[in-house]
Subunit: 466 residues, 2 copies
């Protein structure tokens, strides 16, 4: 019997982590690995694109952790600029098209890893497909966007969507000296934060000179005679001049191929997978931005497009299809970003999410410092905790602050992961020395205050007798 065949669709984090893990466990005699990538690049950091656009990262190559050549050296038949245009799950073949040569051919598989990532959400408005409208999902996208900026004719940039990517690209363009406006339907940027935290983000964005048009949507993208975008019209009737429009509305899982092939999707619209990253189609695995995950707090299926999950899920798929055993136990909604010198982070549920998940909760907000208050360089940090009524279980946390503030979210993420109560969190043996924290670390102060809130609520008369 010949070698088994593994086909991977998608040459970035999830797909290539799976391929590498499988290769580690099965040599070329046992397993043939063919990987298809539509773009020119493999295994790169899409999250790093804004920093390459701004110039903070000088060389695009630095964003690439493993080139096609390196994958080939590792015994993977890596085919870039090759798009998979169909999957036949019954025949166990994929149909591939060479984007440069135009040749089409079938490739058989025993195991398939579906790792197509995500596509930017595109509002269904006139002009959305005009020249000058860019996504920033792939390194090819990023290269095109940067080439446009380097062309020197861009002066006005409008970013549609004030989420993480939207703000990161806004800052990058602002650093390049451009006139930047961000349009978003929410009242405050990064709508996954509660509005009280979002206000800090809004201030930071404005302070760096980026204009914010909030609580407003996009109605139309006006194009010039040459078909190039020239302005964005908002729902409220504003006209924002735009030589360049960036889609920062978040992403949708790239599931078109899977849907056509009959690989079942889940309620969230992502591909349904089990803990081992198996889809419901025989021999088909999936990982990364295109799949849905279990949110450990809400119990809901969610699609979270984030490189860290893509890497972990790809690893899990690769171990399993290589004959090992591994699981991906879900997500809790941890995220972090930096807006100028403002750091923000979140984990668990926001107030709105906790509400939707049916939790009753109390909140606590504290202001503290990242180092001992008297220590040079001590920076502001504000923490907000959300804790379940009665039990005191920590449900969510948000941090906003300056240098060294936001990474503390990981402690709270680990506490939430372990279903800790705020009462126990405040007892945690966290590190202390004046250059690193006040004697009560801000995390502990917040837990103490949340505990007091849980305690006070428990003592208050029950508003629902009976």
């Amino acid at each position: 019997m010949g070698a088994q065949r593994l086909v991977v669709i998608g040459g970035d984090a999830a797909g290539m982590s799976a391929a590498s893990q499988a290769r580690k466990r099965r040599g070329p005699d046992e397993l043939t690995i063919v990987a298809f990538e539509r773009g020119r690049y493999t295994s790169y950091s899409a999250c790093g694109i804004p920093y390459w656009i701004s110039g903070a990262v000088e060389d695009m190559d630095k964003l690439v952790s493993r080139t096609p050549e390196k994958h080939r050296d590792n015994g993977i038949d890596m085919r870039t600029r090759t798009e998979v245009i169909a999957i036949d799950v019954a025949a166990r073949t994929v149909r591939a098209r060479d984007l440069d040569g135009g040749r089409e051919y079938d490739e058989p598989y025993d195991d398939l890893v579906y790792a197509t990532g995500s596509v930017p959400a595109r509002p269904p408005v006139p002009g959305i497909d005009a020249a000058g409208v860019y996504g920033v999902q792939t390194l090819d996208d990023g290269a095109a966007l940067r080439a446009e900026l380097d062309g020197g004719h861009v002066q006005h940039v409008v970013i549609i969507g004030g989420g993480y990517i939207g703000l990161e690209v806004a800052e990058a363009c602002q650093v390049r000296g451009l006139d930047v406006t961000v349009v978003d339907r929410s009242a405050t940027p990064v709508g996954t934060f509660d509005p009280d935290v979002g206000e800090f983000i809004a201030d930071a964005v404005r302070n760096m000179g980026v204009k914010l048009v909030m609580s407003d949507g996009v109605a139309e993208i006006e194009t010039g005679a040459d078909g190039q975008a020239v302005a964005v019209h908002t729902a409220s009737g504003r006209r924002l001049p735009a030589d360049l429009v960036v889609l920062g509305l978040g992403v949708r899982p790239n599931v078109a191929l899977a849907r056509e092939a009959g690989i079942p999707l889940g309620p969230s619209g992502g591909i349904a997978v089990d803990h081992r990253m198996r889809t419901q189609a025989e021999g088909v695995w999936a990982a990364g931005d295109c799949v849905e995950s279990i949110h450990r707090l809400s119990g809901q299926r969610v699609v979270v497009a984030l490189g860290t999950h893509a890497n972990k899920q790809g690893r899990v798929a690769g171990i399993n299809l290589g004959g090992g055993y591994a699981t991906f136990p879900g997500v809790i909604g941890t995220a972090i970003t930096k807006v100028c010198d403002l750091e923000v982070a979140r984990t668990g549920l926001s107030e709105r999410e906790a509400d939707e998940a049916g939790y009753r909760f109390v909140t606590a907000v504290v202001d503290s410092t990242t180092k001992a208050g008297y220590f040079p360089g001590a920076a502001q940090i504000r923490l907000k905790l959300i804790a379940e009524q009665r039990t005191g279980r920590l449900l969510g946390a948000q941090i906003v602050g300056r240098e060294d503030a936001a990474k503390r979210i990981d402690v709270l993420a680990t506490a939430i992961w372990n279903e800790m109560d705020v009462d126990e969190v405040l007892s945690l043996d966290l590190s202390y020395a004046p250059p690193f924290s006040p004697v009560w670390d801000p995390v502990l102060i917040a837990a103490r205050k949340a505990f007091d809130a849980v305690d006070a609520e428990a003592r208050s008369p029950d508003d629902q007798p009976g």
Copy 2:
């Protein structure tokens, strides 16, 4: 019936946290609070003393979080420069001496909080009590040490003991342009780290220009005709000139009073307390550096002198004696410090400690960066994990690195607290964005490698058949 009487011995973190919590729960009509402090200062950061000595903190007052006057405003009868010289647990009185006036008097109590802190370990060598030999436990100690340095006649400083405090004071003196030598019996500084990590600390100390005399003890302190220390003689026969000698050998719990009063000590030499911080003497509570705590991993009783525990324990004692309910659930040995620009931290058990506690374990060491590798300012970070054989339970972690490296120890401390296995740690939903971490956070990379080590060990032939 009149107000109950609470007497507190010790006006720093533990004692005054207890007093403040009790005051919060019981007003002056219900509870009279008298607090005795031998020194001039209350509620200060002893950990901040080195930074005041170096000049990083300009004003000593900044180290004081609550002055005696503030405590008095809060309804606490705060008596500074007053030493408690005896406790009569049968009669429920303490004997106090006014250090300035000389007056002695008895003070009755219903509840007593014993929070006398620690005293520096003093090697029993000739000359140890000479003028010019300083501890750095109290703000009065710090003020005396700084006055000596400000006097301008000090040129050579010898620090006995290369632990946290020893190195912090060494750096402070070095910053002041002095000739500094650290003497320690261990092979590497901060002996609570494994030697492989300790080597990095040794290099950092030497690189800043501080001399290290390791694997050597102190035999004698030579004094001049005026009784002032002039040199330190080591066990190996070296003579180190010293205008100033600092005791950095760590501390002993200050339990002399308790021992005389018959308040039972535990096996570690600290005062024995239960989870609510009650001693075995009726009406006597204790908290802070003078008590012993349960180490949650070794199961042993240990004395850990650290402001963060003192504050938590004082809070617990104060809540309980104020009629509430709170517990202190123990420690896991978390510590952090900075040597020049080198950050080091630890939590859980070191290899030696794990061995002594009877664990069998594997270790994993990884080198990574604090931000995405391509991101400007990405700094080195090395993590070492210790995981139990077979189960994979995380037992200990050590970090050494540059800017933003060490505080990540808190994630591992939280994981250890929750008895997580490295397999689950590597799945944690930790925050990721290029300015904050690589896509696999160093903590996750280390957990992945530790998991591999656990896995490899489990597959190896059992060396103890039968």
